[in-house]
Amino acid sequence: MHPKVPRRLLAALCATAMAAALAACGDNVDPNETPTRDASSIAGSFAGAGASSQQSAVEAWIAGFQKKNPDAKISYNPSGSGAGVTTFLTGATVWAGSDRPLSDDQVKESTQVCAGKEAFDVPVYISPLAVVYHVEGLEGDTHIRMDVSVLARIFDGKITNWNDRAIAALNPDLKLPDLPITVVHRSDKSGTTLNFVEYLKAAAPKEWKYATEENWPNDVGQGAKGTSGVISTIDQANGTIGYADFSQVGDLGTVDIKVGDSYTRISAEAASLAVADSTLEEESAGSNRVVLDINHTTTTEGAYPIVLVSYDIACPVYADADTARFAKAFLGYVVSDDGQEQAMRATGSAPLPDNIASLVQASVSKIAPEGE
């Protein structure tokens, strides 16, 4: 043997070890809990992109998934629903998160990146949207009650004072102050706005005449950028009302919504009930798709009808076998009971109701590499 060979071997070994050490640099692993690697573990770099509403949930899913697959590097770029789907349709990402199901055109376009098959979307993240207010003295344990007609009139600028007779009639026990109502809404394009106005439109078609879109439709009140902007604007002034993701509410008051004959307080379980009572959209093009038509006028007792549903978009067939294996395993984990529980703990989202979950799991389990 050449005298330099052992030394070179040692150097090569050291270099590899260093690269590996650097790659795992700073990971937050429990020293008492060694990650379990087995034959089915997945390794490699995979990317997703899309809705920022899912970001915290996706981070929790990535953390949960990496417990069993410590060598999988997964990135999720919270660039927004539109950008996420566009990137997915270029083939640069494995999956996309989106607050909206795919349009028919997008489904057709997806055959180019899905080895000739059409992409599908499944609901993965259900989050209740709170109607948040800040009225001094009426927060904490007290919750103002409203029905959808009052809500629609407030957000349309028809009811302008907290002591309006319509609100007082629903809250006989509360002493409502003589205080003007300031509506706070999202100034940017947002899936939160879309889902909120969809609710108003579906449940109060007489009072809410605007088209449903991602931009706020009227000039009432004040706009704020992002959920964080809405929350901080509401927090800073007295007499404000707005809508935001439940997990961001903090100490602000939330409105109890009239459902059927009773009032429902916002909670993950209540949102889950409303989704369970919803129907599937039949006419959505493509197979394997699970697109929910949320039943905003549900009368199920204890159901909370204002929910944001966020979808994951993936291919049924991937040209690359490793990518297919990853997509199946990762999305399978996301929609499993474990994954939904993980997201609920991390973000306060609602778990998928059983009837929907079984459909979604069936869809995801059909993901396969090309030719199988």
Binding site: N28, S45, S56, K73, M344
Partner: protein
């Protein structure tokens, strides 16, 4: 206040000069007292002087307020979560507001690595190109039309919005390496576009102030032009060039928009500049700010902090400021060490 009038009586009439005495006699006698400022005039001037002084000091104070306020707020809010755990961990396995196994709440190791690597990449691209461009402009081009064109282009380039640089790098890599490619080097390319004009301009200014005598002396001794430039001109201008480069780095290290588009965002550490997404400090701050609040489930431990994303954002911002500060200090030290010795 009397001094100006006294001086006036002394010199211009030429009493002390060599002019003949008669000329001095015939000259009209000037009553300098007439020109003396009246008392009210003096008072008005004093008032004006005081007023302007106050105005200037006020302007200075106003200019300082945001600076001090930004520094103070970042220090006060960022200090809380800034510890070794924060610096030595990334964001993997951070769930909601819960503490990680090491007792921290995730950290910025991956973002610091990303920022340093991407900025280094941008330096490697833009400093050689920028310095050579400046050498061409000063030493070779003279007043040619090409030089004018380059000057114009550099001026235009320094006004490019950073997002356009990001778009350029994004589309360039989409063409070269397939659509939707995101990696650290792409971010370096975007940043180098923003650095280049600053490097060219500062180097040019530094080369201009190298005395021509040095060049001529060197050439007169028979030294070739190439050696004159590398050993005399660039050597003399080196401290200035280094500080110009540091300025350029300080300009780009806090860029968010182009990096958001080109380098992506990932929670785990990626030390490979050429493959895979990379988080940088400004992007990290932005993403943590957009999360705003983390969730703590009802049965969470006491260690669960809902406001942790904002606290992480402030600490990361503080680290970014400290990195810029360290780079500035390094730049100054390097400039001092390299400065030509004066006797």
């Amino acid at each position: 206040m009397n001094s100006p009038s006294q001086q006036n009586t002394g010199t211009p009439v030429g009493r002390g000069s060599a002019a003949p005495a008669r000329a001095a006699d015939e000259a009209p006698v000037i009553d300098f007292d007439k020109f003396k400022p009246t008392r009210s005039h003096v008072a008005a001037r004093k008032r004006k002087d005081l007023f302007m002084r106050v105005l200037i000091v006020l302007a200075f104070a106003i200019a300082c307020i945001p600076l001090v306020s930004v520094l103070w707020t970042t220090l006060a809010r960022g200090f809380r979560r800034l510890n070794w755990d924060f610096l030595s961990h990334n964001m993997t396995n951070v769930i909601g507001g819960n503490p990680t196994p090491s007792g921290g709440y995730g950290g910025i190791l991956h973002a610091v690595i990303g920022t340093l690597e991407i900025t280094l990449g941008a330096m490697v691209i833009s400093i050689p190109v920028g310095v050579l461009c400046a050498v061409y402009l000063i030493e070779y081009a003279g007043k040619s039309r090409l030089a004018d064109a380059i000057h114009l282009l550099v001026d235009v380039m320094s006004g490019i919005p950073s997002i356009v640089a990001g778009l350029f790098a994004f589309s360039m890599f989409a063409l070269l390496a397939g659509p939707g490619t995101l990696n650290g080097f792409e971010g370096s390319v975007a940043l180098s576009l923003l650095m280049l004009p600053t490097v060219v301009k500062t180097t040019e200014e530094m080369l201009k102030i190298v005395p021509n005598d040095l060049r001529e002396a060197s050439l007169a001794l028979g030294v070739t032009k190439q050696r004159t430039i590398t050993k005399v001109v660039l050597r003399t201008a080196l401290p200035g060039i280094v500080s110009g480069a540091i300025l350029a780095i300080a300009r780009v290290i806090g860029e968010t928009a182009p990096l958001l588009m080109t380098a992506g965002y990932i929670v785990s550490t990626n030390a490979n500049l050429f493959s895979g997404q990379m988080t940088t400090l400004p992007v990290y701050v932005y993403q943590e700010y957009s999360k705003y609040r983390a969730n703590c489930p009802a049965d969470a431990s006491d260690g669960c902090v809902t406001s942790i994303p904002m606290e992480r954002a402030w600490s990361a911002a503080l680290v970014l400021i400290i990195i810029v500060l360290i780079l500035n200090v390094i730049g100054r030290v390097v400039a001092r060490v390299l400065a030509p010795k004066k006797k």
